[in-house]
Subunit: 521 residues, 2 copies
């Protein structure tokens, strides 16, 4: 059989073009077994063919003269035949990457033959109507019909967007054969209609970590009937598939040098290691890094301040808003920029205290709290001045100190210094806007040379898309997941000592931040 | 985890009683992964858990204090979790073995915990209403709705019988978690609603040989929602799962000595070998061996003659009918007995010609053909004499010659003599009534010592039941199937020479049948 068999695997690995040896009296292998063998020879995995496809095979193989395209899904070392198509099939064969964020859900439609992006979009997570934060949703999921309501919300929202997205790409949702879904562990549960209440109760046990692939119809997704959905595996309750996607996108599976991946958000999730070893941890950093706590904090959107510059000599402040529109508020990266600039220009001191005399006309007091006017009344979109208060700054400092302490604790646990980290990946939707210089200036990230930082953008979506663009990326995700040692951070005296030392700008031990010392007036 | 984990695998291997280590901060494996690991440790196979069961897990594990019973199905090296039950669960957990015969469908309900038989029954294959033979059904399946009609007929018939059978056993069909279905290749296709037209067209290609396990609901079977159905694999169009079941029941997988398994019917299917090598072939023997061609031939039923004895001195004929009722006809084994006795008593000669002077008053001529009265008019149930005609005898001799030639050709191909065969298994529903002495006397089976013959009865049902009684039997079926070399019998000059020589009673070469020579008057 081998001799005559012609095969071609496309660049993504998900669509195989096969030319089977035609059956003869001397080779009377059954249709399904013939196809299995050909796919096995190509993928090296045992192959499963569902009864629905077995029923189609005899006629299809003969109509197509034993040449065909096969869409496959390989996970956990098993190859499932998703669908079969005629060899000259020209309609797009698409896959959908979904980043299942708590706040936003992002989509990227990929051509499974070329790996090209066909369309991209995002929606607010419709579960926000139940609760903006994941904890609120988990509690709600425990009420009557709570879980199924949350499941319906996210599935209906995704299905609506699938229609729009496919429409925009000029294809039918019926042309989507595969989906890769990447999200934090709780979102993956809510998406799959799987109880998640134990994720937030000691000892914090998810129902699944590595569920593999399911049928889209079993999840209610409006894709092709035969479509398979791969859920990116997670390591535990606090280290989800979104991080694994990020690790794959960063390329940990092939990394010789030591690298670190940090997902900056309410939870700081950190992965440290290389292709040989991987250590992960997660810890609460507080919402300040996402602009959550501040009275003017918002998530990135048009009109939101995402960058700030202060002339160290004149202390003239320049703000940049998304889309250049009048300012409505400030997002996390804007907040970090602002704090860094305030500190470098001397408008706040090493404890984060507002230095009234350095602020001039920007100093303000309201409800017994002092603050700094970032955007005056007349220039803001709200009609009120946008003010960062002492409370906001204190909150940010706690968050940045927590983040730094987590990084310090993890590297100390492994026994390496920050300088041994060759690449420092900053991940997460929010992370994509961070300027490492600013994060270093406030002592949130270690003072490494700028070129060692790599900002990945939405690495959860990027990693999920990569898994549709390359079958190897799914293998990598599973390998990375299996190799990770998850460290439960002990908030002990050591941790608290480190945290206290990090509650200065940039740090009590200024020798750790030579570049900041140098730039600061 | 291993240290505390207590497990117990029941005798059949399909029900695991597991005591999982409870999760803790130092062992926060997810529920599904925890269960997978425990099942993997027990079965040595990768485990698949469907989304439906994942959804049940978190509550079930905690309600049951991490102790549970798991029903599993292992095939093709993969373990699928069928269902989970509380640890103290006392209701029966049943499996259903189905022999999917062309004419009869037989059922055996098995307790999956003890391996005991709970009930047994059989029905006529409802597809007989379309066509009594498989060829007619294949042709019909190619007409509009033909396949789905045939599928519905068999599934509806099976579902009705499942109700009766379960009722008789005092359990609900909902208690049946597994089914093992064993039938010829075409019946397996019709059962699964899979096109089978190419099975009868050169080069005779089935849609599947080793489909593995499906969900009962995907096949329309009225068992538990979560039930899995294992279809015993076949080797090709003419060597079906029924034969593989027989081979497992015979124990080829552990056999040191050479054995042969013969399924006697319209098709003679033969398996030769031992645990190290296996060779199979199939050939048309004609319907005479099943009593199909003869005017008085019937399948076994009350009133049908299944054994005949003729006093060699007085030529007094004694017949035995099933249930001792007045004779209605003669079945295949009765026919073989009759021919053997007629020959030994000299009433037919070595060419099978009726010896008029030896038959006395039993000789009869009708429509220009002579015959022998087996049951006189007054003693039969039909009101007419039951007569075996010269045409019937000629037809039987062709069939027995074909059978012997197939056996001779296969052993010659392997290069062994009949005397090297230590056990000669006779299989098939019909085969269960054959008396080897009679089959030897007419030269249908080789002249081996009587103790080497082993009559297996309905080995398709027996093998399927064994697979429910022992998980190893499914492994054995797959190993046996994979090891079989199927020989396409060439009907060449060699074959025709052997066939001609075998068209005598017992054979042209009487030295091959010393025991017959000795017994014959």
């Amino acid at each position: 059989m081998q001799a005559e068999q012609g095969m071609n695997r496309n660049s993504t690995g998900w669509v195989l073009s096969l030319r089977l040896v035609k059956p003869s009296l001397s080779d009377n292998t059954a249709d399904a077994d013939r196809l299995k063998k050909a796919i096995e020879a190509e993928t090296g995995c045992p192959v499963k063919i569902g009864i629905g496809l077995v029923r189609k095979l005899p006629r299809a193989l003969r109509d197509w003269d034993f040449c065909l395209k096969c869409v496959v899904m390989i996970s956990g070392g098993v190859c499932e035949l998703v669908d079969i198509l005629p060899p000259g099939h020209r309609d797009p064969i698409a896959g959908l990457a979904i980043d299942l964020g708590t706040t936003r859900v992002a989509f990227r439609l990929i051509c499974l033959e070329s790996g090209r992006t066909l369309a991209e979009s995002g929606i607010d997570n419709p579960q926000v109507s139940v609760s903006p934060d994941i904890l609120g949703r988990v509690h709600y999921s425990d009420t009557e019909n709570g879980l199924s309501n949350l499941h319906r919300l996210i599935i209906d929202g995704i299905n609506r967007e699938i229609s729009h997205l496919c429409n925009r790409a000029g294809i039918s949702p019926d042309r989507v054969f595969l989906a890769v879904v990447s999200g934090n562990t709780t979102m993956a549960h809510l998406f799959s209609n799987v109880p998640c209440t134990h994720i937030i109760r000691e000892p914090y046990i998810p129902a699944f970590n590595a569920p593999g692939a399911f049928m889209a119809c079993d999840l209610g997704l409006g894709l092709r009937d035969s479509a398979h959905v791969y859920i990116v595996p997670s390591v535990g309750s606090y280290f989800g598939g979104d991080l694994i996607s990020g690790a794959v996108l960063a390329g940990f599976q092939d990394m010789e040098d030591i690298a670190i991946l940090v997902d900056v958000g309410t939870n700081a999730e950190v992965l440290l290691g290389n292709r040989d070893w991987l250590v992960a941890c997660a810890g609460a950093a507080g919402p300040a890094l996402e602009g959550g706590m501040s009275s003017i904090g918002m998530t990135a959107a048009p009109g939101v301040i995402d960058a700030v510059a202060i002339d160290p000599d004149t202390r003239k402040m320049e703000i940049h808003t998304i889309g250049g529109e009048p300012a409505t508020g400030i997002c996390g990266s804007g907040m970090i920029d602002l704090a860094a600039q305030l500190f470098i220009s001397g408008m706040i001191d090493i404890r984060g205290r507002i230095v009234r005399e350095a602020c001039g006309g920007r100093w303000i007091e309201k409800d017994g709290t002092c603050g700094i006017v970032v955007v005056p009344e007349g220039e803001s979109a709200t009609g009120s001045p946008l003010v960062i208060s002492q409370v906001d700054i204190d909150s940010l400092i706690r968050s940045k100190a927590a983040m730094y302490t987590i990084l310090e604790t993890l590297t100390a646990w492994v026994g390496i210094g920050f300088n041994e980290i060759q690449t420092f990946f900053v991940a997460g939707t929010f992370g994509s806007y961070i300027r490492p210089e600013s994060a270093i200036a406030i002592g949130m990230l270690p003072d490494l040379p700028k070129e060692r930082f790599s900002v990945l953008g939405n690495s959860s979506l990027g990693g999920a898309a990569l898994m549709l663009q390359s079958q190897k990326a799914v293998e990598d995700a599973e390998k990375i997941r299996d190799r990770i040692t998850y460290i439960e951070l002990n908030v002990n005296q050591d941790f608290m000592n480190r945290f206290s030392a990090a509650r200065f700008l940039p740090h009590t031990d200024t020798s750790r931040f030579p570049s900041v010392e140098w730039s600061r007036k």
